[in-house]
Every structure is written in structure tokens, then in C-alpha cells.
Symmetry: C2
Subunit: 262 residues, 2 copies
């Protein structure tokens, strides 16, 4: 099967114009089919603050009230998505920016309230439109996905960008050889979060059990790693986690953490 | 050739949630291939005001400084575009929302300053990507165009939505039988702007000269009508101007003003 790279870019890169431009150059230079998934960085919070809309986070997740939904739709699907696409063209990479409602790319449902916590207009993914994404990729366009989905009944929903990347990778695995890349500010999965030299270069299901047992994996990484192994079980070839600035080396598995079947 | 409807929706419809929902229902019910072009309504001005960004208009055109460009990109390409697409899915109409940078849909250049007036990041259209739009339409999607374009060098540009509709219609005319529809709050081209009964039902090049000579056409309509005739000369079949609320009758030429070759 033909390879496809699904690359999630972390918020701190989006917040830094120079880092973003360098990342887009590196993304543009990657050969073959590719999907870029972005979140929002701090701009949504800044715009929300400027508009007098208080932002609430519970366990790192934004509570999406109607006004916050308006802000994230504007910032993620508008400002950030379109600037990334324009930047990719400037770097010589034809691309199309989509939210989950465009072409029904990503259908979701509103997350049910969990005890005392009502996440508001937060969306949990039901389906990724493989045909739509394949059509765009086959026509030579890279796809840039904003983490705004819809429920099919006219309701937009705010969805976690890591989840968008994971679900997109899983859906594309039915037709492509998918490499899922999480690029962010760290060098990869670290034994010591403050020490880049403590990088774990490779994790398999067997070694993951051992790393959890001996406490070598930071608890904050466990949900991400659980998701990575879930992606592998759904047919994704490998999951790569590492520094956005090292994208060319990262996609080649020469740096960062490589999460593989065996 | 297969018919395509290119329908521009006026800002006052976008500002009214009920009118917009009714319009989207009517648009969804139209058979065949169709493109919806929208501007921004008053929301961009409201958001700009809330963010403390003063809006300047010269001859009805917004002066697009860098902060205003950010606002219109967020509001037009983000909030309005994605809500329209989600609304179309709710009405049973598969659609994809694009700005001019997506798939290089609409390439433009920054308008040169004209004497003392610098329009800022205002874009004048150079090219509409017929292949991209055809691919989306052929795959069964209606296309929803936001009036944000790009220059290919990473710069987004704010572009007049009437112009986007006209240029899109002209480009599609190479492959389709194009009907260009301007839907707004008036019944069509009126001899007396305040009297719907003064509607001019049909205008041809010959009758247009007569209408201009005898002063029957309001001076404010002349640029719009000049553009309509320019579209006809570029291969567009007809231009229809009328009330958004009468969309089904308007596209059938049963109401509004019909501008035709003869």
C-alpha cells in the first residue's frame, strides 16, 4: 500500500511564527501523500480573553460553551487553518484546509456530561470520511485538518486535535500504509521529562508493559501511548513521537520515539 | 453543457439566523450542481469592534489592515463558512467550504494603493481554479466559497464577495452552463429603489443602454450591472438578481431581474 503521513503539530509551534514557517517548509519537503492536523495554540485563549469570554479548562480540556465554540471555530478553522494552507503554498506544497464539516470529513457527537462536568460543545469522533480524504490526496493535495467537527444536524463541535490525528490515521489505514507522527516541543517519550537524553527510542507492546511496570513512563504520557497502541491495533503501521523541529529525521525514524508492533 | 448555479448570498441574510436557515433549506433543495458565495455581514464589524480594531470603509470597501485581515479571515473563512456548511448538511446537502487558498481555489494579488487610498490586504482576483471546483462538484459536493483569497506567497487577502461570485461564474463557464444569481434583500433591479413594484424583469445589452440613457437605472446599480454584462460576455448564460427569500422562483427566472444576452 502507498504510504501516507498523518502529522499532528503541537500548539507551541503554531504560537511561534518562525518555528511554524520552518515546520511548514519541512512538511512541504516531505515526498508523497500527507495530512497535517493542527490544534489552536494560545491564540484562541487570547482572542477569547480579548472578547471577554472566560475560558475554562478541566483536566486540560477546554469547556466549550456557545461563545467559546464561536471563538475556536474562528481561530482554528479560520485563522490558523487558512494561514497554514497559504504558508504551504508559499513553500511549494499544494494543500486544502478542511474542518470536519467540510465534505463531512469528520462526523462527531456531542460528549455527554460526565458527573458534574459538562464539556459543552465538545465532540467525540464517530466517523472519518475516507473517500473524501482519498479524493483530495489522490488529486495531489495535502490535507490540513482543523479540529472542528460537526454532528450532521448543523451543530459544530470542538474536538481534541490528538484524537483527530489518531482517528484520521485509523481511517486511512484501510487504504494506505499509515505513519502517524506527533510532533511537539519534546524529543519524544522521555524517562525524565526534563532530560532529552532520557529518550526511549522504541516502544513495542511488550516493552510498554515493562516500562509501565517499572515506572519508566511518565503518567502524563500513558493516555497518549495507549492511544498510539490503539492506532497500531487499527492498522496504523507506526506512531512516531518527537520534536517538530526535527521533522525530516522524525518521519524517517532516525530521532524521537518509534512505537511499533514489534 | 451541464448547468451550474453560482449563488451569492447577501450579508443581511447572513446576519439573520432564521433567514439564513430558510435560505440554506432552499439552496439545499435546488437540484444539480451549485456554488454558494458568501460575504461577512455585520459579524466581522462586531468582532472587530469587540477586539478594539477600528474598521475603515472607503466607498463601501473595507480597508484591510493586518488586524482587520485577521478578523475577516476568522469570521468569513472560519465562523460563517463552517456554520453554512454544517447548516447545509443539516438540510441534506453535502457541501465543502473553501477559502481561495484551499486547493488554490482563487489566486489574487494585493491591490495597489490608489492615490491617497491604500486598501491594505485587499485582493484582486487573478485566477479561479476550474479543475479544483469541478472535482468537488463532480464528487457530489456543493462548494461554499468564503471571500478570502491568497497570493501564492503566503499572504491571505480580503476580496469582495460579488467579485468572487462573478469570477467563479466566468471560470466555470468554460465547462458548465452557468447561471449566476445575486440574492439579497431587494426584489431585483428597481426603477425606484424604495418600490418593489418598479422591478425591471429583464435587461439585455440593448435595453440596458436605453435604461441608462433615460436614467431608469439607479447609479448605485450600474457597477453591478456592468459586471453582470461582463460575466455574460465571458460565457455565463444568465445573471439573476433578486430576493434571497424567493430563491426557488429566482433561479427559475420567475421573479427578480433576469440579465441575458438578448
Amino acid at each position: 500500500m502507498e504510504p501516507v503521513y498523518v502529522i499532528k503539530i503541537g500548539g507551541n509551534i503554531i504560537d511561534d511564527a518562525q518555528k511554524l514557517a520552518a515546520f511548514l517548509e519541512a512538511f512541504a519537503a516531505l515526498p508523497g501523500k500527507k495530512v497535517l492536523v493542527h490544534g489552536g495554540g494560545k491564540l484562541a485563549t487570547r482572542i477569547g480573553d480579548a472578547l471577554g469570554i472566560p475560558q475554562q479548562l478541566v483536566d486540560g480540556r477546554r469547556i466549550t460553551d456557545p461563545e467559546t465554540l464561536k471563538v475556536v471555530t474562528m481561530v482554528y478553522a479560520g485563522y490558523i487553518n487558512k494561514n497554514i494552507v497559504a504558508g504551504l503554498y508559499a513553500a511549494g506544497c499544494p494543500a486544502i484546509g478542511l474542518s470536519g464539516t467540510d465534505g463531512d470529513a469528520i462526523r462527531a457527537h456531542k460528549r455527554a456530561a460526565k458527573g458534574a462536568v459538562d464539556y459543552g460543545f465538545a465532540g467525540d469522533v464517530d466517523a472519518v470520511n475516507l473517500d473524501l480524504l482519498s479524493t483530495q490526496l489522490d488529486s495531489g493535495l495535502s490535507v490540513v485538518l482543523a479540529p472542528i467537527t460537526h454532528d450532521g444536524n448543523g451543530q459544530l463541535l470542538n474536538t481534541n486535535a490528538d484524537t483527530i490525528a489518531q482517528e484520521t490515521a485509523k481511517a486511512l489505514a484501510a487504504r494506505f500504509d499509515v505513519h502517524l507522527v506527533y510532533s511537539f516541543e519534546k524529543s519524544g517519550v522521555l524517562r525524565d521529562a526534563d532530560d532529552d537524553a532520557s529518550l526511549i527510542a522504541s516502544i513495542t507492546p511488550a516493552s510498554y508493559d515493562q516500562l509501565k511496570t517499572d515506572g519508566s513512563v511518565h503518567s502524563g504520557m500513558i493516555p497518549k501511548l495507549d492511544n498510539a497502541f490503539a492506532a497500531l491495533r487499527s492498522g496504523v503501521r507506526e506512531v512516531l513521537i518527537g520534536k517538530a523541529e526535527d521533522l525530516p529525521q522524525l518521519v524517517q525514524g532516525r530521532t524521537g520515539t518509534r512505537i511499533v508492533h514489534e
